[in-house]
């Protein structure tokens, strides 16, 4: 939940892992859940996976949501399992938050808020990218 992005990290070699870009709002489509399933399976195979939230995808991170109010199973709760699966790199696009008048108040910890340039650089350190 910090907007700092240290030079040290930028100097790291490519992580050779998978980056998943989440671009869709959480409740009206299955994209968020489908992306989550991919992330968790990579985690369970001990493969490096990082999560990126951009555009309407940033809504997936916002605190105080409750899918049960609209009869949907709350898959966002499963985000708390990221730690268990060693999914530690969670990035959100600051510009997308600002555009949507959203505060940096998330329902999981350790979300890194990045400028567009930092977001692009972080994405660039991965070998493969899937976008949902």
């Amino acid at each position: 939940m910090t907007s700092s992005y240290t030079q040290e990290k930028n100097d790291l070699p490519p992580s050779n892992g998978l980056a998943i870009i989440n671009s869709k709002a959480p409740f009206s489509s299955n994209h968020g859940k489908d992306a989550l399933d991919v992330a968790l399976i990579f985690g369970s195979f001990e493969q490096k996976v990082s999560l990126f939230f951009q555009g309407d995808g940033v809504y997936q991170l916002i605190a105080d949501q409750d899918a049960r109010l609209v009869s949907i199973k709350d898959y966002l709760k499963t985000f708390s399992a990221f730690e268990f699966y060693d999914i530690e790199d969670i990035y959100v696009c600051q510009q997308s938050l600002v555009n949507r008048q959203l505060e940096e108040k998330f329902h999981i910890g350790d979300v890194q808020v990045l400028s567009s340039i930092e977001f692009g650089l972080a994405l660039n350190r991965h070998q493969h990218v899937l976008r949902f």
Binding site: S28, N30, V70, S71
Partner: protein
């Protein structure tokens, strides 16, 4: 008598279908004469008997079946849309089609539209 026809174009695994269901049930409860729901495009997938949604997820198809039973709500699926999406409709017994649904052509949509005071799409 207020008459209503509804067109559903979202698949059963889309959460958008929940709003369609909630709306149709609210209409039925309010005493509106819902003369039929027409499932078009991805909506046709609702009639696939083999669809298996995780048990802790919203069971859209079961809810449509319930409305069909409780209110004799007619549920039509478009045959062309269904066949494109892997529901075999051409056999005599149509054993892949959920029995709450009637296999119809687009002509049924014309019927519903001309008879209903309101047409609402979901």
């Amino acid at each position: 008598m207020k008459t209503l026809a509804v067109v559903v174009t979202t698949p059963p695994y889309s959460h958008l279908t929940i709003s369609a269901l909630t709306y149709v049930e609210a209409a039925l409860v309010a005493g509106i004469n819902v003369i039929g729901v027409f499932f078009y495009q991805d909506g046709a997938m609702h009639a696939n008997k083999d669809i298996s949604i995780a048990s802790d997820e919203y069971q859209a198809i079961e809810h449509w079946q319930r409305l069909n039973k409780e209110y004799q709500l007619p549920l039509h699926i478009c045959i062309t849309a269904a066949e494109k999406r892997g529901i075999a409709c051409d056999s005599i017994d149509n054993d892949q089609v959920n029995e709450a649904f009637t296999v119809s052509g687009l002509g049924e949509l014309v019927e519903l539209t001309t008879k209903a005071a309101r047409l609402v799409q979901f």
